[in-house]
């Protein structure tokens, strides 16, 4: 038997209040850590600023999706009515564009919404059935009433004992290591 030595994913600390986590996240960033993540049961105000997150790409993806839906929807109706299946009804124009607006509109909304949701999931890397953070002992509270921060081992500044002490210094409870598998 080969002795199985778990790899360390990171060190996790727990807070009871969202403000404490925001404070801790700011301190962690200021201390020079780059690879860390906060886990909260609801979106906490001030968190993106504390972690210095950049703007996300969901709006851009949504815009592109909406444009594709709108232009594609109109273009498709144009193609059907002018080229593929032209119907001459009392000499009215084939490209009777006002009549194409409702479907164009609906397809714009449809494609933009699908892009927003699937774009968000893709950028978040979801669905992802397993993640090392779920190994953390008390992590089930992250979806209820506790606020967690995990500093990852891949960070250059990461040192198991030092980082743990650092988190304790930020008044985190239950500071513990998280295994990789």
């Amino acid at each position: 038997m080969i002795e199985h030595r778990p790899h360390i994913y990171g060190v996790i600390g727990e807070f009871e209040k969202p403000e404490q986590l925001v404070h801790a996240a700011t301190k962690i960033r200021e201390a020079g850590y780059r690879y860390y993540e906060c886990y909260t049961p609801f979106p906490v105000e001030g968190m993106p600023e504390a972690m210095a997150m950049r703007r996300n790409d969901v709006p851009l993806i949504t815009l592109i999706g909406g444009l594709i839906g709108g232009l594609g929807g109109f273009g498709f109706q144009y193609w059907v009515n002018v080229y593929a299946y032209p119907l001459n009804i009392a000499g009215r124009p084939y490209n009777s564009w006002p009549a194409f607006i409702p479907v164009t509109f609906e397809l714009t909304i449809l494609c933009a919404s699908l892009s927003a949701v699937f774009g968000m999931l893709a950028l978040n890397g979801l669905p992802q059935p397993h993640h090392p953070i779920f190994n953390a002992h008390r992590f089930r509270h992250a979806s209820a009433d506790r606020f967690f921060v995990c500093i990852q081992a891949r960070d250059k500044k990461f040192h198991l004992k030092e980082t743990a002490r650092f988190l304790q210094g930020l008044a985190a409870h239950h500071v513990s290591e998280v295994h990789d598998d």
Partner: protein, 461 residues
């Protein structure tokens, strides 16, 4: 309770009835809402209610089965009334759905905190109502197995749908509406599914909720994108919901039938949709909060606000009726004038008067605070409005179609047993889905309630 819990609301400061009962913490809202799904034993009342609804759903299946065997001749429709119950019910159901999107999207954009505890089940209601609505045009085609012809696909017949027809617009509007409502609802559910996954104790529940939660772990970076996506969906759903009933009204107003061919139809259909939708939300909310002891979450403030929205949209609808009436007379068009006479004195006049009574007169009671805060009055009122809105569609469709331009084309319409069976059957399906929903999914958004805990505790600091 540890010192870390958020501060408790002090009741003496709350002047208005709060949107969240006092004393709630992150843990308590999580426990209370998830317990309905996870730990609370299924009550006898649930089983009885579900069984009744399920039986009525069975009636729907029989009605549809018989329809497929025999054709639409089993219904009361014939020339000149080709639409009948199927379209009355379609418009009624799709209208009911609108309140869910209004609550979840428009009130979200307007930052109305009170939407939080009612948006989840209102969205579920939207989905189920759209499902019920979708059945009717589908089976009304007579050959529902060819319904896919309405979608543009490269067929061997070499033909394409007629994109200039409001009926094709309807296909796109309703299917987009159904899809976007589902997305909105599901995105809202993801964090709560993660909560249920983490709180389940049995393996099957952990696996099912775990799969549905897509591995959500509440990461701050995920939340940031999640919030963007949710906000964008709300922004997209807002014009969408207004467009859906507009397109539905085009089915009528693009035609030249007297009483249909009016420009007031789109706004007045949308207002009517929201009116009936809020009535249905109240119809569901009142028994729900009672049965599951959710009075702290769905407070009187919610009910009263919904009653106010109902009153406001009801007045818009009344305005619509008035101008429909006025413009018909003012136009001097003899067919339009005749239609008004038919509404007032024709064979279907009792329906028109009942409609005025249900949609305009009785809801005026909502001006009184006492009435808005009386749960029983409100519940009965919501039923009255639902009946009224159904009558509205009946009046629009049946009176216009039975009395168009030539007396030789006039006719009468009465529904058959199978019309009623299908209509009541969809109600059974709707109620059954609601019952299943409250049993297996959190009927109130837990994640948003936690945000509300933070906000209300800040307000009372």
């Amino acid at each position: 309770m540890s010192a870390g819990e958020p501060p408790i609301n002090s009741p003496e400061i709350t002047r208005l009835t709060p949107v969240l009962g006092p004393g709630h913490t992150y843990a308590s809202v999580t426990d209370k809402i998830s317990a309905i799904v996870l730990t609370r034993p299924t009550s006898l009342g649930w089983y009885i209610g579900f069984l009744i609804a399920f039986s009525v759903f069975g009636v729907l299946n029989i009605a549809i089965g018989w329809l497929i065997m025999k054709g639409v001749g089993i219904w009361g429709i014939n020339i000149p009334i080709g639409w009948g119950f199927a379209i009355v019910n379609f418009v009624w159901w799709i209208g009911i759905g609108h309140a869910g999107t209004l609550i979840s999207a428009i009130l979200f954009l307007l930052n109305q905190k009170w939407r939080t505890s009612i948006n989840r089940f209102a969205e579920a209601m939207t989905l189920f109502a759209v499902a019920c609505a979708g059945i009717f045009p589908l089976i009304h085609t007579g050959r529902p197995w060819y319904a896919f012809w309405m979608f543009p696909y490269p067929s061997v017949m070499g033909i394409w749908p007629q994109f200039r027809s409001p009926l094709i617009w309807d296909v796109f509007a309703v299917s987009t509406y159904g899809t976007v409502s589902l997305l909105f609802w599901f995105v809202g559910l993801i964090p709560d599914l993660a909560t249920l996954r983490d709180r389940s104790v049995t393996k099957p529940k952990q696996i099912i909720y775990g799969m549905l939660a897509l591995g959500w772990r509440g990461s701050a970076r995920h939340w940031q994108r999640y919030q963007s996506a949710y906000l964008l969906l709300a922004g997209l759903a807002t014009p969408l919901v207004l467009s859906v009933h507009t397109v539905v009204s085009f089915d009528f107003s693009v035609a030249i039938v007297p009483g249909w061919h009016t420009t007031i139809f789109p706004p007045y259909f949308v207002a009517g949709a929201i009116y009936s939708g809020f009535a249905m939300v109240i119809t569901i909310a009142i028994p729900l909060r009672k049965a599951y002891g959710l009075e702290d979450f769905i407070t009187m403030r919610h009910l009263e606000n919904m009653a106010k929205v109902m009153l406001a949209t009801g007045l818009i609808v009344a305005y619509g009726y008035f101008f429909e009436f006025f413009m018909s007379l003012y136009s001097g068009n003899k067919f339009d004038v005749f239609l008004v006479q038919q509404r007032l004195h024709g064979p279907y006049a009792p329906f028109y008067y009942a409609l005025i009574l249900c949609n305009i007169l009785i809801p005026q009671l909502l001006w009184f605070h006492k009435m808005r805060t009386n749960v029983i009055v409100l519940f009965l009122m919501s039923i009255v409005v639902n009946v009224g809105m159904w009558l509205e569609r009946f009046v629009i469709i049946v009176i216009s179609l039975t009395r168009d331009f030539m007396p030789s084309a006039w006719g009468r319409y009465s529904p058959t047993f199978w019309d009623w069976a299908t209509f009541i059957g969809t109600m059974g399906m709707f109620v059954m889905l609601i019952f299943l929903f409250v049993r297996v999914l959190p009927a109130i958004s837990i994640a948003e309630m936690r945000e509300l805990v933070t906000e209300t505790s800040e307000e009372h600091k």
